[in-house]
């Protein structure tokens, strides 16, 4: 399973970025091979509006099955849902913690967006 963990930096030691669409980096982690890569999200970070939709599209295109993040707004939630991507919110600590928590089965998908949209 390919995970996308929102991160404040580009390593497994980076803190989980609490924001989905405006996270600094996406760490794409393959739980079968333990290979990972960091995907820069700076462009989206600075988008005036529509960041949730754009980030969700980017993640879906990368073949991600589950997003691990702090919070997720309604537009990103709807887009990820349409693409068949699961969303887990309330994730804290480092990226490595998040991956370990997922593998241990401690993290459950959410059924609804947990924050409001905040477009301009």
């Amino acid at each position: 399973m390919k995970l996308c963990i929102t991160a404040e930096g580009g390593t497994l030691e980076s803190a989980v970025d609490p924001r989905f669409a405006r996270a600094a980096q996406f760490i794409i982690y393959d739980t079968e091979t333990d290979e990972w890569q960091a995907v820069d999200n700076t462009q989206n970070l600075q988008a005036p509006s529509g960041a949730g939709v754009q980030a969700a599209q980017n993640v879906a295109t990368l073949g991600v099955g589950v997003v691990l993040t702090g919070h997720c707004g309604p537009n990103a939630f709807r887009t990820l849902g349409a693409a068949g991507v699961q969303i887990i919110v309330g994730v804290e600590g480092t990226v490595a913690d998040a991956v370990a928590g997922y593998k241990a089965g401690n993290l459950n998908p959410t059924e609804a967006p947990d924050v409001q949209g905040h477009w301009m």
């Binding site: 509006s49 529509g50 939709v53 599209q57 879906a60 537009n75 887009t79 349409a82 693409a83």
Partner: protein, 292 residues
């Protein structure tokens, strides 16, 4: 003539200048409140709306039977308002700017447009003023279509005074575009100067003639004056930091009669601006003659 009252910074006195200028002229004037997110000219006018017109943004409606999930609509949209992930498209109405591009590129003709209401344009008459204001729906982010709705009430052969939104983003640009002259209202403070310089850059890019009104002269410092001097920008009016003005304003009253000769100076400002606009117009005519 179309005179736009704008500013980089909010709360510098755009509405004060717009309402008091429109009234001081003591002749038929169209006053348009284009600050649709927070219209407040009406606070100073005893106006009851006579007409009200709903304004909408055309958003896409997808006929899922015709849609083949080709994704052309999503690739077209620059605002992520319509998305197709090899699925039937998702539409995000509040992100849609109403350009109609998705409907145009859809090879199946599966997209039609339907108006999503964003606000109303209201009109009223107060003395010699024809007053037009836009009122954006609560929580609605899409101001420009409503500002264009207000601007459809401009009559270039009459005197039009527009109270514009603050800032230098889409709402402000939508409002000032096409004006014959822009008055940038500022205050002599570091914030006032910073946001004035942004507004100056904006109106220069739009190639609009402009001048500055400095409000609350006496607070802050003289850096706004020095900046205008350096940049060759005319300061067309200075309004003093006067408690009588603040008191009248706070009661929702006009300030033209409470502070010395403000009424006369507003009329003088208008004459100066009119003269500038007339000269520019004549110059453009003579340029045209030379070109042909």
């Amino acid at each position: 003539m179309i005179l736009a009252i704008a500013s980089g910074k909010g709360g510098t006195g755009k509405t004060t200048v717009a309402v008091n200028l429109a009234t001081a002229l003591a002749r038929p004037v169209r006053l348009l409140d284009c600050d649709v997110e927070e219209p407040n000219c009406h606070v100073f006018l005893d106006a009851d709306a006579e007409t009200s017109e709903a304004i909408g943004v055309p958003i896409p409606v997808v006929d899922e039977e015709k849609c083949t999930a080709c994704g052309a609509c999503g690739e077209m949209c620059q605002y992520n308002a319509i998305v197709s992930l090899k699925t039937k498209p998702l539409v995000f109405p509040e992100l849609c700017h109403g350009c109609g591009g998705c409907a145009r590129v859809c090879p199946e003709g599966a997209i039609t447009e339907q108006d999503r209401p964003v606000g109303v344009v209201e009109t009223a008459h107060v003395g010699q003023l024809t007053f037009i204001q836009g009122r954006l729906n609560l929580g609605e982010p899409m101001a420009p279509p409503l500002i264009r709705g207000v601007k459809r009430h401009l009559r270039p052969d009459e005197i039009n005074v527009m109270d514009c939104p603050p800032g230098t983003a889409c709402p402000m640009i939508t409002a000032v575009r096409g004006a014959d002259f822009v008055l940038l209202v500022t205050e002599p403070t570091p914030f006032g100067l910073h946001d004035l310089s942004l507004a100056v850059e904006t109106v220069r890019l739009l190639e609009l003639p402009f001048g500055v009104v400095v409000n609350r002269v006496g607070v802050g410092d003289d850096r706004v004056h020095a900046y205008c001097d350096r940049e060759g920008i005319p300061i067309l009016l200075e309004i003093p930091d006067d408690r009588r003005i603040a008191e009248a304003y706070s009661r929702g009253e006009l300030v033209i009669d409470v502070a010395g000769d403000l009424r006369e100076r507003l009329v003088g400002l208008f004459e100066t601006v009119s003269e500038t606009v007339r000269k520019r117009f004549q110059e453009s005519l003579s340029h045209d003659r030379r070109d042909t």
